[in-house]
């Protein structure tokens, strides 16, 4: 007769004896949840599966509502300050300058002087992998020379953005740059807000 506590017929699902020797029903819940027996460990009860599926679905639904609520509530509420970022004489035509907006801790923005009294400003981070963008001329395309063919270039992966709209025109980026709205009063350029451009 085998001595090590196994009775025949063998209970295939219940081989291991807990240290205190009491039956499974009297064991704490964690021991039933984390069985040592291989067969029990692999076994998933219908109730556990249903519980898992329901809770996961509820979590997804709640997440969707949270995203929707955030995008509905968050957008119009933020009032942007008006901040002087440069003077007109500071930059030559085609020149650029970085600044932080709306405050000092914000992501860097890029201000470009595109004409005598025309300025544009965008997020300085490329929408592909957040490399800093710079104003540059596309060497391979003859662009109408109104602004000297100036575009926004991300040198990391050769991405290009339209300097007038911030839309991606070449390379890996797929989303447009967020635009900083500007106002020129007298000889000073003010940033007045941020426009999340529609894709």
């Amino acid at each position: 007769m085998i001595q090590h506590g196994l009775q025949t017929p063998r209970d295939l699902d219940r081989q291991t004896v807990p240290p205190d020797g009491r039956p499974l029903a009297e064991q704490p819940k964690w021991r039933r949840d984390f069985p040592i027996d291989w067969a029990q460990d692999e076994y998933v009860s219908r109730r556990d599966l249903v519980k898992f599926i329901c809770l996961t679905s509820v979590a997804f639904v709640a997440g969707q509502f949270w995203i929707a609520a955030r995008s509905l509530l968050g957008r119009p509420g933020a009032a942007f300050p008006t901040v002087a970022v440069a003077t007109v004489d500071e930059l030559p035509v085609g020149g650029a300058k970085t600044f932080s907006y709306p405050d000092e801790e914000s992501a860097p923005r890029l201000l470009v002087r595109t004409g005598e009294r025309s300025f544009v400003a965008y997020d300085q981070q490329c929408t592909h992998l957040l490399c800093p963008i710079v104003p540059a001329r596309r060497p391979d395309v003859s662009v109408a020379a109104a602004e000297g063919g100036l575009q926004l270039h991300c040198p990391c992966h050769n991405g290009w953005f339209d300097i007038e709209t911030g839309q991606p025109i070449a390379g890996p980026p797929r989303r447009p740059l967020a635009r900083v709205t500007l106002e020129v009063r007298g000889r000073t350029v003010y940033a007045t807000g941020i426009e999340e451009a529609a894709t």
């Binding site: 090590h4 025949t8 004896v17 240290p19 291989w38 460990d41």
Partner: protein, 221 residues
């Protein structure tokens, strides 16, 4: 496929000649190729050449699995405690520290605990484990209880061990003298004995030794 019920593992340290054949054969096992899971321990190296092959005893309540925080050590339906499951093992060493027999081996470079699994690829199809198949003195033997009773009339299998206050029942049997030896083996008794001028077997098989020590003042003992 489970290990057949009638086939059991018997360890008889008294027959061990220290040839290391089991240690070498163990590395050939396909469940842990290249890694030997057997420890060949010297009982009292300064005074004796006696060695003890230590294989996993496959406890009914495996302490290694009890202490595993990652739920990685599992016991198959035939009572064999398997190596840690690779996706779960966090290489925390709890099992190594907790095992009363010192079986689990931590392979830090693999982030995995591996242990003797009784050559599960072989025993589950009715073959002997590697170590038992090469042991020249059959200190490690794998067979039926009747076979052992016929071949070793002066010994009997015991599978109850005392480790401090913990009583351990195992799937693997230890062969003890047929007459006189108690029904259980005190695993820690030898720890509290002086190592000079005594018989090793006295410590290990003297069942009262450890309990006396627990009850008495250790300073007297």
């Amino acid at each position: 496929m489970p290990v057949p019920d009638q086939l059991e593992f018997f360890v008889d340290p008294g027959r061990c000649i220290g040839c290391q054949a089991c240690v070498q054969a163990c590395t050939e096992c396909d469940t842990h190729k290249g890694q030997s899971m057997i420890q060949l321990d010297y009982v009292d190296r300064a005074h004796s050449t006696q060695t003890v092959p230590v294989v996993c005893m496959h406890c009914d309540a495996p302490t290694c699995a009890e202490v595993c925080p990652a739920d990685a050590i599992k016991r198959t339906e035939d009572g064999v405690v398997q190596s840690a499951r690779k996706p779960r093992c966090i290489a925390c060493n709890n099992c190594v520290l907790a095992c009363p027999f010192g079986i689990p081996k931590m392979h830090t470079e693999m982030h995995l605990m591996m242990k003797c699994d009784m050559c599960y690829d072989r025993t589950s199809v009715g073959l002997k484990p590697m170590c038992a198949s090469v042991c020249p003195s059959q200190a490690l033997a794998f067979g039926t209880r009747e076979e052992m009773a016929r071949l070793r009339p002066n010994a009997r299998p015991v599978n109850t061990f005392q480790f401090g206050n913990q009583t351990i029942r195992t799937k693997v049997n230890l062969m003890v003298p047929a007459d006189g030896a108690p029904d259980w083996v005190d695993v820690t008794a030898a720890l509290f004995e002086p190592t000079i001028g005594h018989e090793v077997l006295e410590d290990v098989f003297d069942g009262d030794g450890f309990i006396d020590l627990l009850n008495d003042d250790p300073a007297e003992a």
